[in-house]
């Protein structure tokens, strides 16, 4: 299995991710067998703190590899320049990027497994959206700002289609986990 270091480069996002993974490192250690991860020696951060870098192969040990594999795309979206859409949109709001990293960190903390890597699309105006589609199921998580999201849950069956959407605080992590559990269920 190839190993990809989560260090993306000397960018603000890298620091964010490093800090996020560092913040949850101790919590993961307490989860038990689900999180058989090995720590690498910490590296220095500009604020003088050290951090722990994990690798994709290590993350796979607890089934949350989809989160690590989302980061390169998030980095791309985080660094979109102004007018990336040719219609005058600003680049992605860094507060929203931080919120997205925070959400991924929380989902990893709670060990949300079995979810494919989402499509991650920027939204005109400076936001972004995670999107999952498989079979008749579809989920979108759109950041309204750094404190709230809009989710869209769609299911298509031979009998018809149903859609549910709501705007909720980002802090309602349980609802987001519920959505992803529904998506991951057979």
């Amino acid at each position: 299995m190839s190993t990809l270091d989560l260090t993306i480069g000397p960018t603000p996002l890298t620091i964010l991710v490093e800090q996020a993974f560092h913040d949850i490192g101790q919590c993961i250690d307490t989860i038990g067998p689900r999180a058989r991860t090995a720590k690498k020696p910490g590296i220095g951060l500009p604020n003088g703190k050290s951090t722990t870098i994990r690798t994709v192969s290590e993350v796979r040990a607890d089934g949350t590899d989809w989160i690590a594999n989302t980061l390169p795309r998030l980095e791309h979206v985080a660094h979109l320049p102004g007018n990336w859409d040719g219609r005058g949109s600003p680049g992605t709001d860094q507060r929203i990027v931080e919120a997205a990293v925070s959400l991924l960190t929380s989902l990893r903390h709670y060990g949300v497994c079995g979810v494919p890597v989402p499509f991650l699309c920027p939204i005109a105006g400076g936001s972004l959206q995670f999107e999952w589609t498989s079979g008749g199921k579809h989920i979108e998580i759109e950041f309204v700002d750094d404190k709230s999201i809009v989710f869209l849950k769609e299911e298509r069956t031979p009998q018809g289609a149903s859609m549910e959407s709501d705007e909720i605080p980002l802090s309602r992590i349980g609802k987001i986990m519920q959505l992803l559990d529904w998506f991951a269920a057979p």
Binding site: G86, G125, E142, E154, D166
Partner: protein, 130 residues
Amino acid sequence: MESLSAPGDDRSIADDEQLYRGILPDDLAGGRISSTAFKVRPGDHVSVDRGSLCSPCDTLRRLPKSVGVGQIIAGAARSTPCVAGVAPDPQEDNPAHALILRDRSVGNSQWAKAARQLALACSWAISPPP
């Protein structure tokens, strides 16, 4: 940004007229058109080009960052919940410009459904290269 003007539905755009929307590489989710192609903030509207006044190639040329052009008929856009209508919005450099109007009274969660439905109703006029 998308136009901030707020015209009402204009029936000079017939229900069977095609509307073209430039699709960016970042609007693609596994080769299909993401709802993000139709997501606009409250007070904004979705920019499109009128099929009676231009070709999909014209739209592609005008928006060089696009990798393809989606098409949706005006009637389908009008019948989408939370869409207030379709209206011409000619610009000096683009007489074919028009708007799919986001109802000003709808919130973000309602528009999320509308954007998804618009994306599902949108097909390729010019598909992106493989």
